[in-house]
Structures are given as C-alpha cells and as structure tokens.
Symmetry: C2
C-alpha cells in the first residue's frame, strides 16, 4: 500500500506549486514512474485526491491542536493538567521568546506544513469550506492560542494586563505576515527569521512586567 501514499505526497507537492487546476493526473503519475491509469486503481478522481489530502491535513492539524493543549492547560479548564510544559514552566522572557519562536519556525520549515499552506492559500477562494478552513487554521486558532497563553502569563503576573484579544492580534499578525513573505520568497527566509525574532523580543519588552 505504498503507492497510494506516494501519490498523495506527489499530488500535494504539485498542487502546492502549480495549484489544483494547473496540475494534471499525468503530472502526478510521471514522477512516480507510473501511468496515469494506475492512479485510478487507488483513487476515483482527481478531485478525490485533493479531498483526501485536505482531509489528512485536517486530521494532522487536529492532532497538532491536541498536542498544543496538552502543553498548555487553561486556568478555567476543568480537566486537570498532567505534566504540562506550558505557562507554568515559562519563567523568563527568553524562555517565552525561544519557545514561541521554535514553534513558529517549525510551521515555517516543516515541508508538509509548508505545502499544505501553499495549497490552501491558492485554493482559499474556491469554496466556502476551504475559506473557512483557512481562516480557522491560520487565524482564529492561533489567536485563541496566544490569547490563552497571554492570559496565563497575566495571571502569573509576568505580563502587563490588557485587552487579551488585541495583544494576541498585535503579536501574531506580524508573524503571519512574515510567514507570507517566507512562503513567497524563500530566499528571504533568514531575513524573515530575524524579523520575527526581533518582533517577539520587542513585543516581550513592551508587555512584560518590569
């Protein structure tokens, strides 16, 4: 059952480079040393390949979310946190910066994440579902995450109190903006990396309790 996964991988690669409409079934088959007809032994249609990729990415995203929440339990949550490594372990600003930055850098560098993001970026206007998925994944979820993170920091007295949503916005929006540059122009990766790091540091210095 290896071929099926190879097809999905190759399809994701090409969809993320040339878009769905810009990629043909032969385009997908050729690099695998396979005939186009063989694809139909594993999938019903081109659209189904796309759908399965989306589905799989959604599954992985939810796993990623679950992992996030085990690493960070909210104060008002009723589930008792186990050996969480979230707010409780963040003491210094450098800790925060390093943790946030390594997290950001992962989603920027992980090839699978990058390809899914490119593909979704190009497909976001194709349907209501894809549009909502994009917003949910790259905006709402992340704003919620950082909002809760900051809320925890405030409760611990590590961050100045303020409008949580707005702080999350001012923190995360620049990150997503640099992500866009990074994706479009890989040659500027280093520049973006430094800009994000600088942003995190300045943000920290502006919001920390002295």
């Amino acid at each position: 059952m290896k071929t099926k996964d190879l097809v999905l991988e190759e399809a994701l690669k090409q969809f993320s480079e040339k878009g769905y409409a810009g990629t043909s079934m032969s385009d997908i088959a050729k690099p695998l040393g396979i005939s186009k007809a063989a694809l139909y032994k594993h999938f019903e249609s081109k659209q189904q390949i796309f759908d399965i990729i989306i589905e799989e990415s959604e599954k992985r995203f939810k796993e990623f979310l679950a992992e996030l929440s085990t690493h960070f339990s909210r104060g008002d949550s009723d589930k008792t946190a186990g050996a969480g490594s979230g707010v409780s372990e963040i003491a210094t600003g450098d800790d925060l910066c390093e943790r946030v930055f390594s997290f950001v850098k992962f989603s920027l560098s992980d090839p699978y994440s990058v390809r899914v993001r490119h593909m979704l970026t190009m497909s976001q206007f194709q349907s209501k579902e894809l549009a909502e998925m994009y917003s949910k994944r790259y905006v709402e979820t992340m704003l919620d995450y950082y909002g809760e993170l900051f809320e925890g920091l405030m409760e611990k007295g590590l961050m100045k109190r303020g409008d949580i949503r707005h702080l999350a916005l001012m923190f995360y929006a620049p990150v997503i903006m640099y992500t866009g540059i990074w994706d479009r122009e890989p040659g500027r990766a280093k520049e973006c990396e430094e800009a994000i790091r600088k942003h995190v540091l300045i943000f920290y210095s502006l919001t920390k309790t002295k």
Copy 2:
C-alpha cells in the same frame, strides 16, 4: 476599442475567481457574447491577457502611490509639499482613525482592487516576479507608508516615540490579516470592519501622547 477593455475586465473577474489555469478563453469570451477566436483579434495569447492585467494593475498601483505621497510629504524630503492633506492636518486621534480607516476600507471594497488582490494571491507562487510584486505591494509599501506617517506624528509630538518599523508592523499586520478574512469570507465583512476599527482605536489609545 471598447471590446479590448471589456475582455480585460472579464478576464480579471474570472482569473480572480477561478485562477489563471482554471479559466479558459471560452470562459472569457462567452459572457461577452463573443467567440473565442475574436479574443485573438485583440490579444496574442491567454498569457498576454494576464500580463496586460498585471501591467495595468502595476500602473494603477504606482498612480495610487504617487497620490499617497502628494497627500503626505516627509519632513526630511527636499521637495516642497503643495496643499498636502497629510500629517499636518491630523490633529486628533479620531482624525487619524477615520482617515486610516477610510483608506483601508477603500482598498477592501473597491472591486478592481479586490479582484487584483485575489488574482495575485492565487498567483503569488507562480514566479519570482509575482511573488516580489505581492510582497512589495501589500507589505513593504504599506509598512513604509505607515512608518513615515508615524514618524511625522512623533515629530509633531502626537505619538509616543518608539521603534517606527515595529509600530508600523503592529499597526498594519492586523489590518492585512483582517483583509484576508474579508477577502475569503465576504459574509464576515461587517465583523472585519468593526475589528479593524477597534484595532485602530486601541492602537491609537496605546501610542498617543496623553
């Protein structure tokens, strides 16, 4: 010579909805009540239609930029500003908010701007040129603009001093983020409009000199 412009308009519309590869020459010709072959009386190829749209949009963008700079002359600029309506006329925070917001709202609502932005969003990974154009247009230029605006406000003592680039970043990045939502999910336009307005107001209250 009206047909040529109608073709460009229709092509932009369809490219911005279905992408370049997802749009055929017949798709463009049909709504105009014209045969596909007639398109070739005005254009050499499908690619040329796309290129001309890009070219025209670049022209309009530069006009837009020129207009911006007549409305706002920098302090260290050697060219004497005419009847500028820039910083010099901004007195209260409400003025700033209203001016910035109406500017943002225009680029969000103007159908031509919206379509170009959608088209570029879908095409940004197709070539180095398009990628750079996207970054320049929707990131660098805007950051520069707001940076200069804030610099002027600081010189006038209307805004707390701080890292100009970073202030522009924290101000503009959220705007571009909401622009994305607005574009993807037009049903959330009102929500985004309010969120942007709120952001501008909070940003103002945090950075104004009391």
